[in-house]
Structure formats: structure tokens, C-alpha cells
Amino acid sequence: MSFEQILFYLFSTILVLGATAVVTVRNPVHAAMFLVLCFVTTSALWLLLEAEFLAITLVLVYVGAVMVLFLFVVMMLDINIARMRDGFARYLPVGIVVAGVAIGTIVMAIWQTNFGHSDPVARGADYSNTRELGEQLYTTYVYPFELASVVLLVAIVAAIALTLRSRAGTRYQKIEEQVVVKKADRLRIVQVEAEERK
């Protein structure tokens, strides 16, 4: 077994264990942390495939931004774990049977066949994965790329439509007033007479 294979199996094992822990641990904050572990190991797997750009983006975007937001939300919500687990024992047998059958068939299907592709070519140090990715993204895949931007636009419209509401008594910042504020408007300097200590 080469060093790369050892690394692959090491990271894969951590990934699978981490993913299992995400759904099994009781504390949602711990689950989110395990998800971070999954993202980090996945990005290590991508590095092994020489997909540096994807690996770094995964860490930056998912670990750095998405998961931090996720943790904020999890910590702000008061989730009653005991209630969420209500019916766990009742659905467990059915769940195990369904999961068992699904995993069984998946293993059966994948075990016997490989995908029939030759090993990926290892590139030299002067090969830029980022450049190749960019060339593909802005030429061959420009149409799906543009569509992705429309999906993001819809997400923005939807998020604003669902959360922005003007209720009576809502407090909000008036930025134009805030920026023209001067020291004199906010701060009053008072001369206090010194008193003698008794």
C-alpha cells in the first residue's frame, strides 16, 4: 500500500466515523462540530485528488462561514432533545430494516462493479487545477453556472420576502442620521465641582 492509499483510508475512516457521529450524538452543538470534522476530512480527500481549489473552498465556505452560522442558530434555538427523541424507540426497528435493506442493495450493486475508468493521471507541480476549473466553468459549463446565479437570486428574494416585515413598533437603524451625528449631539461634558473627602 502506497503512502497515498494509507492517507486515503485514514481520512475516509475518519469521515465515515464523523458522519455517523453527526446523526448519533445527543448534543446538537457536538453534531455540528462533527460535521466540521467531516468537511475537513473531505477537503483532505480532495487534496489527494489534486483538486486544491475545491478543497480550500470547502474549508473556507463551509467550515468558515456556513458552519459558524449553523452553530449560531443551533445555540440560539432552545431545542428540547428529549422531545425530539420521542418515538425514537418506536421507529427504530422499521428504520433499521429499511436502512439495512438499502445498505445491502447498495453494497451489492457497488461491490461487484467498478466504474470502468482508468486511474487518474497524477499531474506535476506546474499544473493548476484552479485554472482548469475556471476555464471549464466559464466556457463549457457557462449555462449551468449562470443558472446557479439565478438560483441564488431566488434564494435572496425568498429569504427577504419571508423575513422582512414591517410591524408596528419595530426598531431599526436610521443610518443617514447615524453617520451625520457629531460629538456634540451625543456627548455632554459637565464640570463637576470637586468635593472634599470627608
Binding site: 466556457t139 463549457t140 457557462v142 449551468p144 443558472l147 428574494v157 420576502a161
Partner: protein, 478 residues
């Protein structure tokens, strides 16, 4: 690396709709609530403009562009035109309804148009990637539309269910696509088709196919992936229900055709069996459970499930006649679905939702004309000749019999007879029961006109169904 500029002309309708969406989005910011009607009119103008563009681009040829990830063929043109027409009707139906409930805001129209764009992308997809992008664009718009009525607990519940189940289905679909990509090494549907034909790794292809089917069946609302349908149709504001229950079914039909027929046509023996199971279950559950419903929106939801069963019957024959019959059925279903939920909108007024069956009692005494129109729609859905629904069922059954599956046709007929019960029950309520509400029935003029036109279309096209059928056959090269 050299790069040729793609041919933008076939995608003109998409580009136009996207441009108008951005324009409406910005313009709407500067409108006061009283002049909001400008947003509405611009949205309608967008649909009309897109219709004209698609009509102008119609030709018998297949055009591929954007590195073969976009296809414009006769089927795409016709389905897109029906989508514009259906959404045009939806917006007409919803105007008063939205205004009475304080939902007459720019977001509804922007999201509806983004959904149209998603449907157009799906209909014109020639690569698994674009198909998925279109599907997400459509689904995301629909999730948000369901949740638009923020103070309603049922709507919030419906939106959550729809969103979570929809995300699961998208994940299944993607997993299936990734398996097929793994074997064939391409996302392009015609290359997938070539690669699948001479492929010895059948097992893994079937494995991918099963996951694809789960995703598609969910989007169509076929049993056993139908759980979301009644809850979402019931929980959403009716103006949104009428949107999600009609035009997106055409896009889902296109998705089925692109993936199964264009991409995995040589696996017909495998997907045939899956579709038989899905369609028989949909016919059975849809028709039987609908009988037990007292809420008309839920009843129409189950009725929609059974119609999807019929649509799948046409596709599973694997013959061009069957595909044409399924396409005809999909278009007819959209016309009838518009009328069915249009009926609920017509009967509702400010502060009152006419979603209980009892609300329809004795309508004949309050308004004989609308009772007659509703009877037409119910007869058509039940498949009584000479209404449009009958011809749709007949053409599908013919295709099934031609494919030597007489038992399947017999099953479909038995379940349609069972289904006729709950449609005729509405006719009974309209004509033979005493009204529980004695207020006079005065719908606004445009609503009354569009509903009458919709119901009359069911009988008038029903008297001469061959023209619509010929269009469907021509688009599929028959």
C-alpha cells in the same frame, strides 16, 4: 483553449424572462401599494412576450447550444407555450384572491416568473446538470411561494414539509445522476444514451436509475412518494396551490421524457416495471383516498395523484404513440387542474376559503351558470364523454392496449370508475342539496370570464380533440 461563442438565439425566451424578472424586481421597489397592478401587468406581459418568442422560434428541427446542454425541439417549444399559457391563467385567477388577503406583492410575481424560468430550463435540458439546475430553480421558488402567507400556521407547516421532503428527493435524484455519470462518464443526455446502449455494467446503471426514479416520482407526486401532495395543496394559499398543481407537472413530464426516454431509453425494460408499479399504486391510492376527503383542496390533490398515474401509463408503453398520449394527458390535466382550483378561488371571498365540500351545496340555486361550468369540469375530470378528460384517458388506454398490456388498461378503467364517484358527488352537491349560505354569488368580472372560458374550453376542445392530439403527435415526430 479556444472558445466559440454559443448560439444564444434558441434561448431567447429564457433570456427574455430572466431580464424581465430583474426589471420587475427593481421596478417593484419604487411602486406604492396602490400602483402594484403595474407589477402584475408586467408579469403578464412577460408571459405573453415569452409566448411570442417561443412561437417564433418553433420549427421542426432540433437545435443544440451551450455546449449541448440546451436543446430546443418541437416538444420543448410546445410544452413551454403551454406553461406560459397556464401561468398566465394562474395569475389571472389569483389577482383578486391575493389582493383580498394582502398578498398582492411583487414577490409573488417574481417568484412565479422565476419558477417559469426553472420550468423552461427543465423542458429544454439536454444535460443532467441543467436539468437539475432547472429543477432547483423551480422548487426553490415554489417552497418560498407556499410560505408567503406568513401568519398562517398551516401554510408554514406545508412549506416545511415540502422543503424537507423536496430536499431529500433532490438528493436522491443527484445520487442517481452521479451513479449514471460514474458509469457513462458524461452528463450530456444523448452521449449517456449512446454509452448506455453498449454498456455491460448494467447493475450499477439500474442502481442509478432507481434513485433517479425516486426523485422524478416525488416531483410528479406519484405513489408512494405522494405524501407531501395533499398537505402542501391544502396548506398553501389557493393562489399558490393552483400554481404548483398545474404548470410544474408539465416540467416534471418533460424531465421524465428527457431522463428516461432520451437518456436511458435502452433501459426501457427496467424502468417499465418501475413505472407500472408507480402508476397502479397512484391510480389506486389517488382514487380511493379521494373519496374520504371532505376538504375540496385535498380531494383535488388526490385526484391529481390519480391523473399522474394515468400520465405514467402513457410513458411506460415505450412507444411514440404512448408518449404523445401522455403529453396530451399532461396538457389536459393542466387545463382541468386550473379549472378545479379556479373553482375554489371563484367561490372564496375576503376572509372566507371555500375549501369544504359543504360550501358548494346548492350552488345551482345561487348561480345556475357557474354550477353548470363546475359540472362540466367535474364531468371532464371523471372522464365522461364528450368532455376533454375522456379523450385524454381514451388515448392513454389505447396506447396501453396497443402495447399488449390489456390487464393494465382494465385496472386503469376500474379505478377511474371508482374515481367517478367523488367527482359526481360534487355535481350532486351543486344541484340536489340545499344551499347553506344564502348570500348572493357575485364574482368579479375577470374572474367570472376566465373561469367560464376555462370550463368552456373543456367542452369545446372536447368536441374536437383531434387538433390538440395532432399537435402532440407532431411534436413527437408522428
Amino acid at each position: 483553449m479556444t472558445f466559440d461563442m454559443p448560439n444564444f438565439v434558441p434561448a431567447m425566451p429564457e433570456i427574455f424572462v430572466l431580464g424581465m424578472v430583474c426589471l420587475i424586481l427593481i421596478l417593484d421597489l419604487f411602486l406604492s401599494d396602490r400602483s402594484r397592478v403595474v407589477t402584475y401587468l408586467l408579469s403578464q406581459a412577460t408571459l405573453v412576450g415569452a409566448f411570442l418568442l417561443s412561437f417564433g422560434l418553433y420549427s421542426g428541427e432540433q437545435v443544440l447550444t451551450f455546449s449541448d446542454s440546451f436543446i430546443l425541439d418541437p416538444m420543448a417549444s410546445v410544452l413551454k407555450m403551454v406553461v406560459y399559457a397556464a401561468v398566465f391563467m394562474v395569475l389571472l385567477y389569483s389577482r383578486d384572491y391575493l389582493r383580498q388577503r394582502g398578498m398582492f406583492r411583487g414577490e409573488y410575481f417574481v417568484l412565479a416568473l422565476c419558477g417559469v424560468l426553472g420550468m423552461m430550463v427543465m423542458i429544454s435540458a439536454h444535460s443532467m446538470l441543467t436539468l437539475y439546475m432547472g429543477l432547483e430553480l423551480l422548487s426553490l421558488s415554489m417552497y418560498a411561494m407556499v410560505a408567503l402567507q406568513r401568519d398562517s400556521a398551516v401554510a408554514a407547516e406545508a412549506a416545511m414539509k415540502y422543503f424537507i421532503l423536496g430536499a431529500m428527493a433532490s438528493a436522491m435524484l443527484l445520487y442517481g445522476m452521479s451513479m449514471i455519470y460514474g458509469v457513462t462518464g458524461t452528463l450530456d443526455l444523448s452521449e449517456v444514451s449512446n454509452s448506455v446502449a453498449g454498456q455491460e455494467r448494467q447493475l450499477i446503471l439500474i442502481f442509478g436509475l432507481v434513485f433517479l426514479m425516486v426523485g422524478v416520482a416525488f416531483k410528479l407526486g406519484a405513489v408512494p412518494f405522494h405524501m407531501w401532495v395533499p398537505d402542501v395543496y391544502h396548506g398553501s394559499p389557493t393562489a399558490v396551490t393552483i400554481y404548483i398543481s398545474t404548470a410544474p407537472k408539465l416540467a416534471a413530464f418533460a424531465m421524465l421524457m428527457r431522463l428516461l426516454v432520451d437518456g436511458l431509453g435502452s433501459l426501457h425494460a427496467q424502468w417499465h416495471d418501475i413505472l407500472v408499479l408507480l402508476s397502479v399504486l397512484s391510480l389506486a391510492i389517488g382514487n380511493i383516498v379521494a373519496i374520504a376527503q371532505t376538504n375540496i383542496k385535498r380531494m383535488l390533490a388526490y385526484s391529481g395523484i390519480s391523473h399522474i398515474g394515468f400520465l405514467l401509463l402513457g410513458v411506460l408503453t415505450g412507444a411514440q404513440e404512448g408518449y404523445a398520449a401522455a403529453m396530451f394527458y399532461a396538457i389536459v390535466y393542466v387545463i382541468m387542474g386550473l379549472g378545479g382550483f379556479g373553482m375554489v378561488i371563484l367561490m372564496s371571498r375576503a376572509g372566507f376559503e371555500a375549501d369544504q365540500l359543504d360550501d358548494y351545496k346548492g350552488l345551482n340555486q345561487r348561480s345556475p351558470w357557474f354550477a353548470l361550468m363546475m359540472m362540466f369540469l367535474m364531468f371532464s375530470m371523471a372522464g365522461v364523454p364528450p368532455f376533454l378528460g375522456f379523450w385524454a384517458k381514451l388515448s392513454v388506454l389505447q396506447a396501453v392496449v396497443d402495447a399488449n398490456m390489456v390487464w393494465l388498461a382494465a385496472v386503469a378503467v376500474i379505478f377511474s370508475v371508482i374515481g367517478a364517484f367523488y367527482y359526481l358527488r360534487i355535481v350532486k352537491l351543486l344541484y340536489f342539496d340545499k344551499p347553506v349560505i344564502d348570500e348572493p354569488f357575485k364574482p368579479s368580472f375577470d374572474l367570472a370570464a376566465i373561469f367560464s372560458a376555462n370550463a368552456l374550453a373543456v367542452i369545446l376542445i372536447g368536441l374536437a380533440p383531434s387538433s390538440l392530439m395532432t399537435i402532440c403527435k407532431q411534436t413527437l415526430g408522428l
